[in-house]
Symmetry: C2
Subunit: 225 residues, 2 copies
């Protein structure tokens, strides 16, 4: 358990699902922190110093010790501020939480992103199919639980913020039907519960500017076809 004078910083950008994961974890734990907004077109010295390997956000800095990779950061936060657990205590349930959060990163984030932003038609179709297949696995895994973590949200739910908030935006822009209430009723219900959770509601970025940002990106890609 952390104690005493804490220096907690998060290097990030508004609108990144990976940064948002860390913000949800911190808000859930009630940890105060300083948000340092990065300009990814002109990365700060601080970002390059703290994450020389990937040079990406989020970077979490606790008492001058930096950590990168959103899921690694969330586990660190859970182990450092141990109230309001994010991972279950049972080793097998912990393993499943790690498995499914990795599954979201490996099988959904990239595929859904490429489905929306790939110009090549064949490549797009392939990624649509892969996204749908992966979402079906999650739909089955959720069963009739409120959250993947059970009655309260946990690691998989936090990883899944990309599905709950970002996928609906990018699929609307690209005119795709990836994650809909008809195709995935349980997962859709979960997404509404999750986005309406008081902790999540408070840190989710505003939808309209994000929509405009991704729309501009989509249009510039389509124009360059």
């Amino acid at each position: 358990m952390a104690s005493g004078k804490e220096d907690v910083k998060l290097l990030g950008v508004v609108g990144s699902p990976f940064v948002c994961r860390v913000q949800i974890a911190l808000k859930f734990k009630g940890v105060e922190y300083k948000f340092l907004e990065e300009n990814l077109a002109n990365k700060s010295e601080q970002l390059l110093k703290y994450n020389p390997v990937h040079k990406k956000v989020p970077v979490f800095v606790h008492n001058d010790k930096p950590i990168a990779e959103s899921l690694v950061i969330v586990e660190y936060i859970d182990e450092t501020w141990t109230h309001n657990p994010i991972l279950p205590s049972d080793p097998y349930q912990r393993a499943l939480a790690r498995f499914w959060s990795k599954f979201i990163d490996d099988k959904i984030v990239g595929a859904a992103w490429k489905a929306a932003f790939t110009v090549d038609e064949k490549e797009r179709e392939k990624n649509v199919a892969e996204s749908l297949e992966a979402l079906q696995f999650l739909e089955n895994e959720l069963k009739d639980k409120k959250f993947f973590g059970g009655d309260e949200f946990g690691l998989v739910d936090i990883a899944g913020v990309f599905i709950a908030f970002w996928v609906p935006i990018v699929q609307e822009i690209a005119g795709l039907q990836l994650f809909t209430s008809e195709k995935f009723p349980k997962l859709y219900k979960w997404s509404q519960e999750f986005l309406n959770h008081p902790v999540v509601k408070e840190v989710i970025p505003p939808r309209d500017p994000l929509f405009a940002f991704f729309k501009a990106r989509y249009e510039s890609l389509s124009a360059s076809k």
Copy 2:
């Protein structure tokens, strides 16, 4: 801590670096298990039942509860049999161990594999460059420690068995210089220490048949150019 009658199974193939990671962890903990050899050209009902998502090995089955993904399995083993720790106890050191083992999977396994087995010359060059850049980060991270984990090996060392044992084989077959003692003296010294560790020595697959297997694969790829 696990106790009582244990049913411990590992579904795997000899010659897989991911299966080998789990074998190292089990041997290090002194956990007895049954090794169930899979034929990946004709996957067993058991594999499809226990890992319906990826249909891949390794799958670890503890008292009929299955877990997939080698690093998730290794963490589960560490949390279940808590003697001879694989992850450090300090949350920050744990985060670093997770970061670097993920780094090996994300930045080295794929790149080194493609560097050896890609027929396209440009693609090969790109992957050689990426492998070298990633290995340099590991060389810098190792510093003058015996193992990434310190005096005893840990998660990053176990993840790195791919670098210590598999990369030298595939680079020799493909006539590449990726991981050499000249380029990466510290990492090379680490690899020798690691491969000579009594636990690792006992579970590393025999080199010659593996070499022949990959050589045949390389030659059939080159022939299909």
